[in-house]
């Protein structure tokens, strides 16, 4: 805890039901994004780059892969003497009934002992579901400057979409005067990003009270934040500028991948000062064969391209055979596309084979096709 006395807790228990087959065996934070990453690489790399050196990762749904993935803290440089990634699934405790995490706040409540042990002054609550780059140390500086009890990161959204979000109404000093969950008639367009900084001592009291409240959903947005506002605590908004995306559906996951194809995309994964770290794989660079064609593509190492790639994102070691065409699609690691196969507007899950001559998706389909099983040829 030497760096800035702030501990990060990442809520990574989400199932991501609207990602269907992609989250059948793995939790949403472990889903692939951007040619080589998993979603959780973003908050973890942000923590490492923001000088936060102890991170708790709260897992629940299908957590075997996620637990081992997150526990290897050296991937994000979180393995120095005072650093660490602590994977925290629900556990049985002495003198308490064993229960799953009942809500976002409950996940933290059940780990009060862990946080006490770390003894931080501030706790940063993050979600493991979002794609963005953010310097949390700046948010902490804002929190301190406002002498806040809690600070909530907010993102301006288009007014007509504001009713889909939790909206913060603030005064001219950024102090939050009201919080409305999915308001029908929004008064502001500042949406909560689900990123909170709390003074630990205060949050601890709130959580202890919340745990035994039979009427509570044990949720930050629904219970803790409204309760703090009721008690007239100092809640401040911290406005975030930049790329932020919730990739909760097949379409939004596809869109976020496609965003990387535009030149000068806002996320800029090539920024040497704010790298996103991930698993290191041992493969050769990607190889574009004598008959390969690439046109507007984002391609990772290990790929072997003998076909044609248009407007697509290819993860590690994807193989595209001669005559195959991949258009407007996302191909996850080790996907194999057979000779002459044609892919349109699809996400193809890890390791799936598309046989020679097969056709997947259509150029004018409204929705994105998710392929998670082998596609046989004609």
């Amino acid at each position: 805890m030497r760096q800035n006395n702030m501990l990060a807790m990442i809520l990574a228990g989400g199932r991501g039901t609207r990602l269907y087959a992609l989250t059948k065996k793995i939790a949403k934070p472990a889903v692939y994004f951007g040619g080589k990453y998993r979603i959780i690489d973003f908050p973890l790399s942000n923590c490492a780059n923001s000088n936060i050196n102890v991170v708790g990762v709260l897992t629940q749904y299908e957590s075997v892969l996620l637990n081992s993935y997150a526990a290897a803290g050296q991937r994000w440089g979180l393995d120095a003497k005072d650093s660490g990634v602590y994977v925290l699934p629900p556990r049985e405790k002495d003198g308490a009934a064993f229960d799953v995490y009942r809500g976002t706040a409950d996940a933290i409540s059940q780990n009060i002992d862990f946080i006490d042990q770390q003894n931080p002054e501030y706790v940063l609550i993050l979600s493991g579901d979002h794609i963005y780059k953010m310097d949390y140390s700046k948010m902490l500086a804002h929190h301190k400057a406002c002498d806040a009890d809690a600070t909530i990161a907010v993102l301006p959204v288009p007014m007509k979409e504001a009713s889909r979000f939790g909206i913060m109404n603030t005064d001219e000093t950024d102090r939050i005067v009201e919080f409305e969950e999915k308001p029908e008639k929004p008064k502001s367009n500042l949406a909560s990003m689900g990123i909170y900084i709390f003074n630990w001592k205060q949050l601890r009291k709130m959580l202890v009270a919340d745990m035994d409240d039979p009427n509570s959903n044990h949720d930050f947005g629904k219970d803790i934040i409204p309760a703090m506002l009721n008690e007239n605590k100092r809640l401040y908004a911290y406005q975030f500028k930049g790329y932020w995306k919730d990739v909760g559906t097949v379409d939004s996951l596809w869109e976020a991948n496609m965003d990387l194809l535009s030149s000068n995309n806002e996320l800029d994964l090539n920024d040497p000062d704010w790298k996103i770290y991930t698993e290191d794989v041992a493969t050769v660079p990607h190889f574009i064969g004598p008959k390969g064609k690439v046109n507007n593509a984002y391609i990772n190492q290990g790929c072997v391209i003998n076909g044609e790639i248009n407007n697509s994102v290819l993860f590690t070691s994807v193989k595209v055979a001669e005559g195959a065409k991949v258009n407007d699609s996302v191909l996850m690691p080790n996907v194999e596309i057979g000779e002459g196969a044609i892919i349109h507007r699809a996400i193809i899950a890890e390791g799936v084979k598309v046989d020679a001559g097969a056709v997947v998706g259509s150029p004018d389909s409204e929705n994105i096709e998710l392929i998670s099983k082998r596609v046989r040829g004609e």
Partner: protein
């Protein structure tokens, strides 16, 4: 686990890569976009279960030491294993004294302290894939004193010039070690890879040091051919030797033959390297890229053919790169046409719009150079 420790030796006076060697030792040369030559012997050793590896660093060691780091990326056990960096004995003024025997003597205590009874010596300028545990088993089974790896080649007139050649008898016994003067096509090229007991290694080093302060290890082995049982074992598969600028260029270009590349890079035999955490490579629209290896972190707006592109290279609009090796971080400016060129790290070619070398005499652009 393997009952041997490894030593990655440095190259002899027969290796001389003009230009690139001014900036780093041969073992730290960038190779095929994302590797350095040292990755090959170390990965071979690590994959063979050799857990204790000593690496000699000669001149300009900065890039090599940074690259090796703790050795964790080579899959060497961080507690039981060891990646040990040994300083070469270096007398800058009198280069001919800078032989490997002097360096072994200089580090003798560290070598004597090793527990493993066998040693595997391998150089970084010979690129190949080899299971050393099989080689060690063959060595022990044969009862030989020294086992040497060699390759049958049929291009010894053009390639492997000044490399060691094993003069073998019918039973693959080594009669002598000669030099390849390029006078015939077929040769048995020594891969400068030796297996022997630690005790024999130490006694040969000490003996060599006694005879002449100019001896290299190969000289003492050559002298002992009649006394000791020295045997050759043929390596099969891809081998490249980087002993001059041309061979460095060719070794990269050769691996654009994907089947050849897969012979060297087998999925059961990973070649490890240090990650740079670069993002995937971004290709813009209307680019033509053919028969090329491209590393991560590049931004490609121009055309590429038959080339190897290192990490984080930027290729601007209208640029054309043919038959070239672009080392990491280089920038190829708008409408620049380059052919048969090696562009060293972080060089920027912006103003000069045409750089065309001959395939037999590729051009070299210096590190950090601005053109």
């Amino acid at each position: 686990m393997c009952n041997a420790f490894g030593i990655v030796n440095y190259e002899g006076p027969n290796v001389n890569v003009k230009g690139m060697e001014d900036y780093r030792p041969v073992s730290a040369f960038s190779f095929l976009g994302r590797y350095r030559l040292i990755d090959f012997p170390i990965s071979n050793m690590s994959n063979s279960g050799v857990n204790h590896i000593k690496v000699f660093v000669k001149t300009n060691p900065r890039s090599l030491i940074e690259h090796l780091g703790t050795g964790r990326h080579y899959n060497i056990n961080s507690k039981r294993g060891k990646l040990h960096i040994l300083p070469a004995k270096n007398m800058d003024d009198v280069d001919f004294y800078n032989n490997d025997i002097n360096s072994y003597m200089f580090n003798m205590q560290a070598i004597e302290d090793v527990n493993q009874p066998y040693v595997i010596l391998a150089p970084a300028h010979m690129i190949y894939r080899q299971d050393f545990s099989n080689l060690l088993d063959a060595h022990i089974e044969s009862g030989a004193d020294i086992t040497m790896l060699y390759q049958n080649v049929d291009n010894a007139k053009e390639a492997f010039i000044n490399c060691d050649v094993l003069n073998l008898n019918k039973q693959k016994g080594v009669l002598s070690i000669e030099k390849n003067r390029g006078n015939s096509k077929s040769k048995t090229i020594s891969l400068e890879t030796y297996v022997m007991s630690k005790d024999l290694f130490i006694s040969l080093v000490k003996k060599a040091a006694n005879i002449s302060s100019l001896y290299w290890f190969r000289d003492i082995v050559n002298e002992e051919c009649s006394e000791l049982d020295i045997r050759g074992v043929a390596h099969r598969g891809f081998v490249a030797c980087v002993n001059d600028f041309k061979s460095y260029f060719n070794a990269n270009i050769d691996l654009l033959d994907y089947d050849k590349a897969m012979d060297l890079f087998n999925s059961d035999w990973p070649i490890y390297t240090r990650t740079n955490d670069s993002c995937p490579t971004q290709y813009y629209s209307d680019v033509t890229v053919q028969n090329s290896m491209v590393s991560n972190g590049c931004i490609v707006e121009g055309d590429i053919a038959n080339s190897v592109i290192g990490r984080g290279v930027v290729i601007k609009k209208g640029a054309v790169i043919k038959n070239s090796i672009i080392l990491p971080g280089a920038i190829i400016g708008e409408d620049v046409h380059i052919e048969n060129v090696v562009v060293d790290k972080k060089a920027r070619i912006v103003r000069k719009k045409e750089l065309i070398g001959h395939p037999d005499q590729p051009l070299y652009v210096k590190r950090n150079d601005k053109i």
